[in-house]
C-alpha cells in the first residue's frame, strides 16, 4: 500500500481535508478527491494553462504542484469565482458577453488567470492583456474574443467599484 498523507487546505473559502500519496498532483486532488472538476487538465506539463488555479491569490499550474505542497494554503478554483449567492463574477460575465469561449475546456484556466490579472492591473492596456494571458492556450477562439472579454471585465469591475 502506498503511504498517504493528510492534506488540510482551504478551497474556495471552505476548509477541506483529504488523504493522498505524496506524488498526487494538486489538479488530481481537486478534481478527483474533492470533486471540483471545473479545473481541467490539458497537458500535464504546465504549458497549456487549463489547470490554472489561484494559490493564495496567485495563478499557478495545479498540474505542476504536488497536492501535499498545497497544505495550509488557500486555493481558489473556477467554482469559487462567483459570489456566494451564485452571481457570476465580472470576469465570468464578460467571457459570456464577448463570446470568449467555445468548447470551454481552457476557460477555467483563463478565468482564474484573468481574475488575478485584473486584481493587480485593473485597467490593463492591450499589451498588458496580451502579456497577461500569454501563458494560456486556447485552440477554439483565436483569442480575439478572449482579449475583448478581458477589457470588458475590466469595465465591469470598474463599474462595480464606482457603484460601491
Amino acid at each position: 500500500m502506498e503511504e498517504t498523507h493528510e492534506i488540510v487546505l482551504t478551497v474556495n473559502g471552505t476548509h477541506r481535508t483529504a488523504r493522498a500519496p505524496a506524488r498526487r498532483l494538486l489538479s488530481d486532488l481537486l478534481r478527483h478527491d474533492l470533486g471540483l472538476t471545473g479545473t481541467h487538465v490539458g497537458c500535464e506539463h504546465g504549458v497549456c494553462g487549463c489547470c490554472t488555479v489561484l494559490l493564495d491569490g496567485a495563478p499557478v499550474r495545479s498540474c505542476l504542484m504536488l497536492a501535499v505542497t498545497a497544505a495550509g494554503h488557500e486555493i481558489t478554483t473556477v467554482e469559487g469565482l462567483a459570489a456566494p449567492d451564485g452571481t457570476p463574477s465580472p470576469v465570468q460575465r464578460a467571457f459570456r458577453e464577448c463570446h470568449g469561449l467555445q468548447c470551454g475546456f481552457c476557460t477555467p484556466g483563463f478565468l482564474c488567470t484573468v481574475t488575478a490579472l485584473l486584481r493587480d492591473t485593473p485597467r490593463p492596456t492591450e499589451e498588458q492583456v496580451l502579456d497577461g494571458i500569454a501563458g494560456n492556450l486556447c485552440r477554439c477562439t483565436g483569442y480575439q474574443n478572449i482579449v475583448r472579454s478581458v477589457h470588458r471585465a475590466a469595465e465591469l469591475l470598474s463599474e462595480r467599484e464606482g457603484g460601491a
Binding site: T37, P88, C103, F105, G142
Partner: protein, 798 residues
Amino acid sequence: MGTRVFGEPVQRREDARLVTGQGRFLDDLGQNALAAAFVRSPHAHARILDIDVSGALDIDGLVAVYTWEDLPGRVGEPLPLLIPHPTLTHGRTGYPLARDTVRHVGEPVAMVVARDRYLAEDAAERIRVDYEPLPAVVGIENAARADRLVHDDVPGNVAAVLRQENGDAAAAIAAAPHVLEFRLAIERSASMPLEGRGVYARWDADDGSLRVYSSTQASTSVRAAIAARLGLPNGKVEVVAPDVGGGFGVKIVHPWPEEVLVPWAARLLDRELKWTEDRREHFVAAAHERGQLQDVRVGFDDAGRILGLDVRILHDHGAYTPYGIIIPIVTSTQLLGPYKIGAYRAEVTSLYTNTVIVTPYRGAGRPQGVFCMERTMDRVARHLGLDRAGVRAANLIQPDEFPYDQGLTFQDGRPLIYDSGDYPELLRKARDLIGWDGFEAERAAAASDGRRIGIGLGIYVEGTGVGPYEGGHVEIDTAGRVHVSTGLTSQGQGHETAFAQIAAAELGVPLGDVRVTTGDTRRFGYAVGTFASRAAVMSGNAIALACRKVRAKALRIAGEALEADPSDLEITDGVVHVRGDATSAVPLRTVAVLSNPLRYAFDEEAAAATQFAVGRPSEEAPVAPGDEPGLEGRDYYSPVRSTFAAGAHAAIVEVDPETAEITILRYGVVHDCGRLINPMVVEGQIHGGVAQGVGGALYERMVYDASGQLLNASFMDFLMPYATEIPKIETDHLETPSPLNPLGIKGAGEAGVIPVSAVIASAVEDAEGLRVDAMPLSPDALYTLRRRAEHDPALRTE
C-alpha cells in the same frame, strides 16, 4: 414569426455552465470508475516477440492486464476501414492491441486496468515487451522510394492512387503559350484539441446493457461499432458525447482502439472503467494531418487564364487508413477553388509511413489544395508581370454561372457542383478590406523606415454540409418547454444556441423555452456526425423541418379548440392565436395536453385531456388514423449534394531583415456561408480557424526523426500559437443563400483555416522577393532561404 431570433448574435446558452466549472467533460464523469492505461510501442516499426506482464502483477490495485491474445472474436479483429473507396486498393487498419507487429510509435500493445490511473501507469511501466526492431519508413519521399515497406503486403507503400480528371490537361498545357512547373510542400500538423480523447463505460449486468461516454464527434456510429464488436444489439448500447473539449476532426475517427477495449473490459469485469488520454498519448496515438508534396504543371495564356493544370500529389497517410482517402479526395477536388480551369488532372498517391495515422483535421485536405492553387496563381502573375488579384479575377467563376459543375466527383460521391456564390464580389471586398490598391504607397513608406512588408491574398471554396443525412426531433411538453434533439455531437460550436434559435424562430416560442440535446443516442439514434462544416446545414435544417411538422400539428389542434381555421392562426411567444386577435388564443402547453388523449389525470393540466373532459364526436377515434399522440415531430434533412461556402482572405506581413522573424500586421477575412444563424458564433468560428491556420503557416510541425520518433510530442516543443502570436482578425461578410436547403445556410466551421498558409506564403513572398514553396515557414527556414537565394537566382521571384 413573433420572435426574431434567427440571425441574431444571441449569447450562448452553454456558457452558463462552462464559465462556472459546471461543464461535464469526459474525465469529469465516473469518479469511482477503474482507470485504464496503455502500454504503447516505443518503436516505429517492430515485431513483437514476447510480452511479459509478470512484473506488473504485484502492483497494489492492479485489476487486469490484456494483450491481443486476450481479445475474443470480433474484439480482436482489425479496426474497421470506415470509408471504402474503389481506388483504396490496399487499405489497412490496425488491431485494437497490436497483434504481432507495431507500425508507429504509440500503437497500443497492452491495456492495464487498475484502481486509479497512477497505479495503472505503474503497472504499465513494469510490463516488458520484447521487440525486434524493423527498419522504419519515415518521410514522404522515403515512402515513395519504397526501399522499405510499412506493410509487407503493400507494394510500393501505396495505399491508393486517386485520379480526378476533367478534359485533357496534358494537351492543354502543351498547347498553352506559357508553362510553369514547380514543387510545393506542406508539413504535418494536428487538430490538437485541449481535451484529448477519452472513454468511460458502464455495464449494467441486470439489464444486459452498456452505457458509454466518449469524447467523440460521432456518437451514433461509435454505438454501432461497439455493438457490432461486442455482439450486442444497438438497443442495448447507448453512447453519449458529453461536453467535448474541442475536436477539429481528430474525434471523428472511430472506433478508436480504446473505444472498443474500454467497453469490452467494463462488461467483462462488470466494473465501471474509464480511460482519459494524456497529452503525450494524444501526440503519438491519435491522428495528424496535412503532410503532402505537390508537383504542379500549369499552362496559361497572356492574361493569366489557366488553360491546363496537372497536379501530382504524394500524400502521407501514416501507418493505417481507417478513414479511407477522404483527404486526398478533398484536396484534389477543392483545389480548384473559385476558378474555371481549362483542363484539369490530379493524381494523388496515398503512401504509408511508420508514423501516426493521418485523418481529417479542420480543413481536411483543403488547406493543401488551396495552397497549391493559390501559389500557382501567384506564380502565373509573377511570370507575366501582372497583378496577383487581377490574375485571380481573370479566372473566377462569374455569379451568373451557378450552378457551376466542376466535372469532378466530391467526397460524398456526388458531382462537384457549386450551388451559389459571388466570387468577384468576395475578391472586391477583400481588396477593399486590406487596402490592396493602396499598398504600394504603404510598402514604400515602410521601406523608407527600413521595414520590409508584403501583401498576400487567397480565395477558397469549401464544400459543406455533406450528406447522407441528419435528423431532428422536437417535442413540446405540457409545461410549454420545447425539447429539441439531434444525433450529431458538439465540440464547442454553440449548437445548443444555434439550434435553439432555429427552433424558436420556426415555432414562435421564447428562446428560453427551448432545450437542445446533441450527441446522445438515448435521445436521437440516427445520425452521421460532426465534420465537414455540416452540423448547422444538416441538423439545422432537419430541426427546422421537424419544427414545421410540430407547428402544423399545433395549429390543427389549436384550430379545433378555438374553432378556427388553422391557416388563420399564428404562434407568438408560445401562444397560438387567431391572427390579429390576441383574445382567441391557447398556449402551446395546453395544445400539448390536448394532443395526448388521456384516461388518467396525473395533474390539473392533464385533466383537460381526459376522456370525460374532451368533447369529441363519439364516432371519431381519439387518435385519428395516421395521427400520433403528443405534440412532437421528427424529420430528416438529406441533401442531393453539398452546398459550397467561400471566402477571400488577405494579409499584410512584416519580415525582419535581420532575424527573418515574420509578423502578421493585418489579417482580413471576407466570408460567405449563406444565411447566418448567429453572426457572433460564425465570427468566433472564423477567428479560431484563422488562428489554427496561422499555427500551420508559421509554427506547427510534427518533427519525426529517421527512426520514426516524434521529437516534439509536447506543448513545449509543438508550437501552438498563444494570444501573442495571433493578429487581430478583421472580418466582412457576404450572404449568398444556398438554394439547396430550406434555411439557405452553408457551413462555417472550417472556413477560417483553409487559405491561411496560402495567404501568408503569398505575403511573405511579396515582402522578400523569394519563392515560398513550403509551409510552415519558420524564421530559420526563411533565413536559410535568404542565404540559398544569394547563390541561386531561381529562388528569387524577380
